[in-house]
Amino acid sequence: MQNTKPIIIVENITFQYPGSEFKLDLPKLEVAVGAQCAITGSSGCGKTTLLRLLSGIENTQIGEITIKGQRLSELSNRGIRNFRNREFGFIFQDFRLVEYLSLRDNILLGVTLGNKINPASAIARLDELTNRVGIAHLLNRRVSKLSRGEMQRVAVCRALIHNPSVIFADEPTANLDPKNSAVIWELINSEARSNNATVLAVTHDTDSINRFEQVLDLESLMETAAS
């Protein structure tokens, strides 16, 4: 299933938050289409920053990131938003669900307020995904009334609703028990496999790491570059 052609190409990027000592230097990184990669490293080594750079949320100060043949630096702010909306699925550590909205509206939020996604196909996929993770009966319930496990499933469904080419997952199971963690990883990996989507997931958990075909230790990558 996995294609050797890279979907993500990182070349000599440097990034530093204003006023921060920490600096992310990554000379080279290539991720193949359909790859399922775990990104590991100690806390504060820049894993989340890397995901934010790859997804275009932050802009690199030096270097180039190319995703699906598109150089992110060539895109305008609007272009980056559209690209992210169309091509990426993002699962945040803190879920980032909108509390006053129903489960259905949360999952469809990026579709409703996006520009490039066909709402009809997304709505058809909504039933499929929510049935699969066992939250179809909660579609009209407000997110604020869900358990953490249910919230995480909603966040995963939201990231997968538009069949993204790349799924970024930032410690998606950090606060979940092993059973719920397994459900979430199974869903992410199987959906990615069936759509030939690439997965880049930050995780510390050994059980979770074992589920990935490829493990990228960010600190090693940066040290190699330094040496």
Binding site: I57, R81, V98, E99, L109, G110, T112, L113, G114
Partner: protein, 388 residues
């Protein structure tokens, strides 16, 4: 289209989940808009009412005193009772054949002081252009004709006790309603009209009783205290009908019976000028022009209206400022949600559409509430006349 509905649903979800904030904004906007509308509506109605009879009659004769009070009482039945002139003043002025004179007696009320009882002559209806809707004009003592808006049950209407603290005061009468006037859009719609005889019976100058019931001598506080034949029967007739009408009689000197004012229509301007000249130095009576007094009142009302509108403008500005603060604060509180939309790659335009839709729904709701509040206030608020 589907996307539009979806955005409306998202906006609705936000507004309903922040119910208190949304309701506060709705109420603030609708009150800020409806109060000035209601106020100017009341003022307009008041000015219209004032205007209906500002020049009709051209002049009136009243006891010397506050000209505003006299005009408001005689033309609009507003305010407290005025001092009275005497019937002999009326007979004196009616000797002048170039003046059409209509006496009015305005000392009594009915329906717990909500309805003025106007003692007058039948010509009043002609000069005021009042027509009967049903029944006939009053012809005898104890009968009344009611204005179009007066509440009546069982075709009778009881007058109010003239002074509950005065045991010697004449008892109230139960008037027989013999006719109802067509609506005229004037204060007459709220009035009960009786003959002068009936009005004087209400004063206590006339009454009916059995011959044997001579009761007691008129008390010092009684209107008949100066009359040599005055007395207070133990049981006066309360309802005048065919069986007891012959028992009604009057005491005292009729020339001294009270009249509140005389409405006067001079034949020519010259007659009016002469009349005004005749009374210019009169010790106890004055001739005044209602239109002049009403113009002065209207100027006051206009000034008050202007002040009110400025106050409302100021309040409206403060309200808008507060709403802007609320919206700004709510945007601040939603920073996390808006950031999430950005992270999901939501279009900036669509996010603006969402926020705009929320504001639009609030404005639509406010407009609907404004219509309801305005209509309810206009329908239920007592008119300015009754407030006065």
């Amino acid at each position: 289209m589907n996307q539009l509905f979806a955005i409306i649903r998202l906006a609705w979800a936000y507004l309903t989940s922040h119910r208190k904030q949304s309701v506060a904004i709705l109420i603030a906007i609708s009150l800020a808009v409806s109060l000035p509308i209601v106020a100017s509506n009341i003022v307009r109605q008041y000015l219209q009412t004032l205007d209906t009879r500002s020049g009709n009659p051209p002049v009136m004769l009243s006891p010397r005193g506050s000209r505003f009070d006299a005009v408001l009482k005689v033309q609009y039945f507003l305010g407290e009772s005025l001092p009275s002139l005497q019937w002999q003043d009326v007979t004196h002025i009616t000797t002048n054949k170039s003046l059409r004179c209509i006496p009015v007696h305005l000392l009594h009320t009915a329906n717990a002081q909500a309805t003025p009882v106007i003692g007058t002559v039948r010509d009043y209806f002609t000069v005021r252009d009042l027509n009967l809707h049903s029944g006939h004009m009053f012809a005898q003592a104890g009968e009344c004709v009611v204005g179009a808006l007066v509440n009546v049950s069982d075709d009778v209407l009881q007058t109010d006790i003239s002074n509950p603290f005065d045991l010697s005061a004449a008892p109230p009468l139960i008037l027989t309603v013999v006719g109802r006037l067509q609506p005229s859009g004037t204060p007459d719609d709220q009035g009960v009209f009786v003959s002068l005889d009936t009005a004087w019976i209400l004063d206590g100058y006339g009454h009916g009783h059995d011959i044997a019931d001579q009761g007691t001598a008129a008390a010092n506080s009684s209107v008949l205290s100066a009359a040599t034949d005055g007395h207070r029967p133990n049981e006066s007739i309360r309802t005048i009908d065919e069986a007891n009408r012959h028992k009604i009689h009057f005491h005292g000197n009729p020339n001294l019976y009270p009249i509140s004012a005389v409405l006067i229509w001079p034949e020519t301007n010259r007659d009016q000028v002469v009349l005004e000249g005749n009374y210019i130095n009169h010790k106890s009576l004055q001739v005044l022009r209602p239109d002049v007094e009403i113009d002065t009142i209207m100027r006051y009302v206009f000034q008050m209206n202007t002040i009110l509108q400025r106050i409302f403008l100021l309040l409206g500005s403060v309200t808008l400022l507060l709403i802007a603060v609320i919206i700004f604060q709510s945007l601040n509180a939603r920073k996390h949600d808006l950031e999430t939309m950005k992270l999901l790659g939501c279009s900036r335009l669509q996010v603006f559409k969402l926020l705009g839709t929320e504001l639009f729904l609030l404005l639509i709701g406010s407009a609907l509430l404004t219509v309801v509040v305005t209509a309810a206030l206009i329908a239920t608020l007592p008119s300015l006349e009754s407030l006065l």
